[in-house]
Symmetry: C2
Subunit: 235 residues, 2 copies
């Protein structure tokens, strides 16, 4: 019964925060007046209050109020009673660590499985996968586990980047990194380019946005998947 939008990024180049998703978010959050915002990923180390204020301004454009999860006396109850939930991007390790520290990861998952519409961007999408093992982020804190919510039977690699031709930098390409991941982990990985998202509507899981995504499976060549493809059989 889940309703999820797991997006590669909050912001595409040349557009405001969440702006490219506004038309999607109106019907997605139609039953919600207030969105509970999880600010734990703290991009650039922004404070929870400042991050919530930023997101609040963005959601006001589609007529929604926003309340930071950190302001609730009982955050477990807040998640369970939420009309809609948004987890913003930032650092995936910091986000997951805080969810574990506050013992909220199962409540968040349960609320989503109960049908609460959930929007994640970047780090907030990463935690929908089986693990955060395909995050691009710097490991600036040590979470008690890399296990994430497992709402999908695969991992997500947000901000997926194609190799840049003519690049002289010797660091690994994203594709090489994901191929290394598959030496140690069996689950498929979906490389979501900026502007793409995964939409879950009940049992249906589809790729949305105008772009292709890149699907990596252990022991197989990576393939491109078209927008609007059915992802429900990927495991």
């Amino acid at each position: 019964m889940a309703n999820i939008i797991a997006a590669s990024t909050s912001t595409v180049f040349g557009s405001g925060h969440l702006e490219y998703l506004h038309e999607e978010l109106k019907p997605f959050f139609k039953e919600a007046d207030e969105i509970i915002f999880i600010p734990f990923a703290r991009p650039s180390g922004i404070s929870y209050d400042d991050y919530t204020e930023k997101v609040s301004q963005s959601f006001s454009k589609i007529g929604k109020r926003v309340k930071g999860l950190h302001t609730f006396e009982n955050p477990k109850q807040a998640l369970m009673n939420a009309e809609g939930i948004f987890t913003g991007g930032g650092n995936t390790f910091v986000l997951l660590d805080q969810l574990y520290k506050l013992n909220l990861i199962n409540d968040l998952k349960q609320s989503i499985l109960n049908g609460t519409p959930y929007l994640g961007t970047s780090a907030g999408s990463n935690i929908c996968g089986l693990t955060i093992g395909t995050s691009n982020d710097m490991p600036i804190v040590y979470p008690p586990s890399f296990k994430a919510m497992g709402l999908f039977s695969f991992n997500i690699n947000p901000h997926y980047l194609d190799p840049i031709s003519g690049n002289t930098h010797m660091g690994e390409t994203r594709e090489t990194r994901i191929s290394e991941f598959h030496k140690f982990n069996p689950q498929p990985v979906i490389g979501l380019r900026e502007g793409s998202w995964i939409e879950v509507d009940g049992e249906d899981i589809n790729l949305r946005g105008n772009l292709q995504a890149r699907l990596f499976k252990q022991g197989q060549r990576a393939v491109e998947i078209e927008s609007n493809s059915d992802l429900s059989s990927i495991k």
Copy 2:
């Protein structure tokens, strides 16, 4: 009494493996006929044997034999008796995890502190810092800790990359990532560009190579440091 070369990368663009370091490595390893190679970081998931063979070819050009640490019945003793040690790049999480699993991290550190010349490149340099919290790698395995050898009073960010002007990708720049690191961690970080290395000779710690490095300190603006600068007071 340590002798360390901790390099940003094994390979600079347009040159063979370790080639740009050959003239440094001859005097550095002058007492060593055989180098013990730690292949655990497995770039692109290469096997220990294949990685050791590659490194062996590279060291043969300066007249050294190479033996993989994985081939010793008693790897602790091998580290303690080594004439020289090289840890190659790949995935830092995989490298550190394996060092912990085999309970070798303290032996490696002790051997280095006893004066065994140690060369690290990329992941092999990362583990010389206080933690691997400024690695660029994908967290494809979960090590029991991010704590590294602490041979320096700072962290290293290898393959340091300056922001690319005109880039439309919305992922964080390296500088932003390191600034997020400093929201949670106090130690300085040295961003080592490809072609730079840190040389430890007894009590002396210096930046080597032709390039500047970038020094990040908590709560301060990042600064450029010149080649041949003394790094021993950075903590």
